[in-house]
Symmetry: C2
């Protein structure tokens, strides 16, 4: 009788953080691709671009002028999705769109407050995260710590979402290296789901889901390198392709010991995190010899005095779309939107390919 093989047979894996399933069809990577091809820009950008809204000293679309910054630089987003000050949504307001049904549980609305900022990672227009120095990535982490700490003192903010969209394929409209902060008066859906899962796991196991997962992946890595999912690690952090990854080369950077938020990191943890961020994104770029697009974000404790804060375990998700080359991406569309996320290679195969990449950025080896 034929035995089940992860590399040949379709299977679903359960994501315990979000409580949903992923369909994995590894044999499907063989099908021919005749669809959309992504653009690659091998064009060398200037260190300073007078037209860029994010370069030091430049004037933005809104008319505001950037400082002549020399390190990381944080400023308020001119097109913020949320504002600090706005009216509540009263029953009369709701009646404008829900009529006599405004008290029905099918028309639930909350007024949402908050604030949005932009974090320039570097004054240099021509660099990206994997091309920064260790010290510069530490500065980015320090900027995140300052933002998180400052917003934690604001009782109107419940959650601080730190993230980066990198590359045109991920909706990024400016190649200047930068991330964003959207801080909201409510805990958004994704972290809320994760907190629910962490709480349920804690209730039934009296331990942290992610602490347990990190230990298990350490054991598995020792047992068999080929089937392991860890890409790189140091004393404080681990970058791995989670067992339940959705995007082809999705990874998670997770604290190896229970830490609720970025604000709790002290040295050498900040340097350790910077090291793993650099090591991971450098391997991403090396895989297809291109600036690897992704959306990346931090999940951590809600701010203000949130009762679930200590349940949270700091981690970062990286969702990169590329599948086969610098120009062929995975589309999570029809089936994925209507039914269930689907992937074309196993998490183990993805981890194995990422581990095989050099720790030295390919651009440094070009002459």
């Amino acid at each position: 009788d034929e035995a089940f093989s992860f590399a040949d047979h379709s299977h679903r894996r359960f994501n315990p953080l979000t409580g949903s399933w992923v369909l994995c069809s590894p044999h499907r990577a063989k099908r021919p691709w005749q669809g959309q091809v992504e653009e690659t820009t091998s064009e060398q950008r200037p260190a300073y671009d007078p037209e860029c809204f994010l370069c030091p000293g430049n004037t933005r679309a809104s008319g505001a002028q950037n400082d002549s910054y020399t390190s990381t630089y944080v400023f308020a987003n001119d097109y913020a999705a949320v504002h600090a000050d706005q009216p509540d949504c009263s029953a009369e307001s709701l009646a404008m769109v829900a009529g006599e049904h405004s008290s029905s549980d099918l028309f639930r609305v909350e007024s949402t407050r908050g604030q949005c900022s932009v974090v320039c990672f570097s004054p240099r227009h021509d660099l990206t995260l994997p091309e920064l120095s260790l010290g510069e990535v530490c500065q980015v982490i320090h900027a995140w710590q300052d933002i998180y700490t400052k917003l934690s003192a604001d009782p109107s903010i419940a959650y601080v979402q730190l993230f980066e969209n990198k590359g045109a394929a991920m909706g990024c409209s400016n190649p200047h290296p930068h991330g964003q902060v959207w801080a909201l008066s409510a805990v958004p859906s994704e972290p809320a789901k994760e907190i629910e899962s962490l709480r349920a796991y804690h209730q039934s196991h009296a331990s942290c889901l992610l602490c347990t997962y990190v230990r298990a992946e350490e054991d598995n890595a020792i047992a068999g390198e080929q089937s392991g999912r860890i890409v790189i690690q140091n004393e404080s952090f681990m970058a791995l392709v989670p067992f339940w990854a959705t995007w082809p080369f999705e990874t998670m950077i997770v604290a190896k010991h229970h830490v609720a938020s970025i604000a709790d990191l002290v040295e050498p943890q900040v340097t350790h995190l910077a090291e793993i961020m650099l090591g991971l994104t450098c391997r991403y770029d090396n895989m297809f010899q291109c600036s690897f697009p992704y959306s990346m974000g931090l999940h951590q404790a809600p701010t203000a005095t949130h009762s679930d804060a200590s349940l949270c375990h700091l981690h970062m998700h990286f969702y990169p779309p590329l599948l086969r080359s610098a120009t062929v991406r995975k589309f999570l569309v029809g089936f994925e939107m209507m039914a269930e996320p689907q992937r074309d290679l196993t998490a183990e195969q993805a981890a194995c390919r990422l581990r095989a990449q050099s720790a030295i950025h390919y651009k440094l080896t070009l002459t």
Copy 2:
């Protein structure tokens, strides 16, 4: 005091079908866009393309040959994501990737069986769904009914996902008008979530969530056309922008009376559904005078003898990515992936723009 305004103030709306929230920031539509621009193909395709894998009589990449079909045409997908026959995932198999942790609830795997087919909507390579005749769309619906009915007799199939990816922006690799069927041995995550919500609603209200929602939207439309979300309707079906829509011009076609599956439709309901599908997709194309990309899919009762079948209420989701023009799309990326879906116009604004479109396809008015 300033009153809350849906068109100016940020708010979250709750999606009762999936149990999650959507952030709506209507003022954000004003920001400048410097990011990725989609390609548009105004190029006229031939009615028959000798290179197309889907045209009648042609040989596919796999070597199989298409029939010389003249109506709809269904065949097995050569690169199926799931297969009818494969081994179960035993504890020994799981140990290959989860080591000593294979019984842990952090490493849950299910072997997944099923089958995948392709449904050519028409032999004509140069047409798309909105350009078919009413009779041709009825044939597509009849093909769906046959597939659903046939698979319902197969005890190894739990759910039949019918869907279409239209346009290169939605990962479609061949412009020949076609949809897909992925039938699985398990109910996938999205319909499973909806069934949970329908069940919970039924338990607390002794009525169907979608029946109630349809009635409420009819009331609201009568109360105020400008704030209504219905795009078009007839006796049997309604196309509307749901109150909790995520994609800019997301719509739902919903049966106005409780019907569990496509197989339950009889005349004149089939013709009514075809009419609404045509009317909606025609307005989509007219909005930006282009072949409007989307992913579309049906949600309905699980097959085999599923205890929840009668809870289900037939509906179709349309998720189109375009936001401002034929070339500027919405990206659901960083914040949306990490935190919560976000939209830049209200559902009411989207519905109002769709309603304003002509019922006659723009190509028919070009000379």
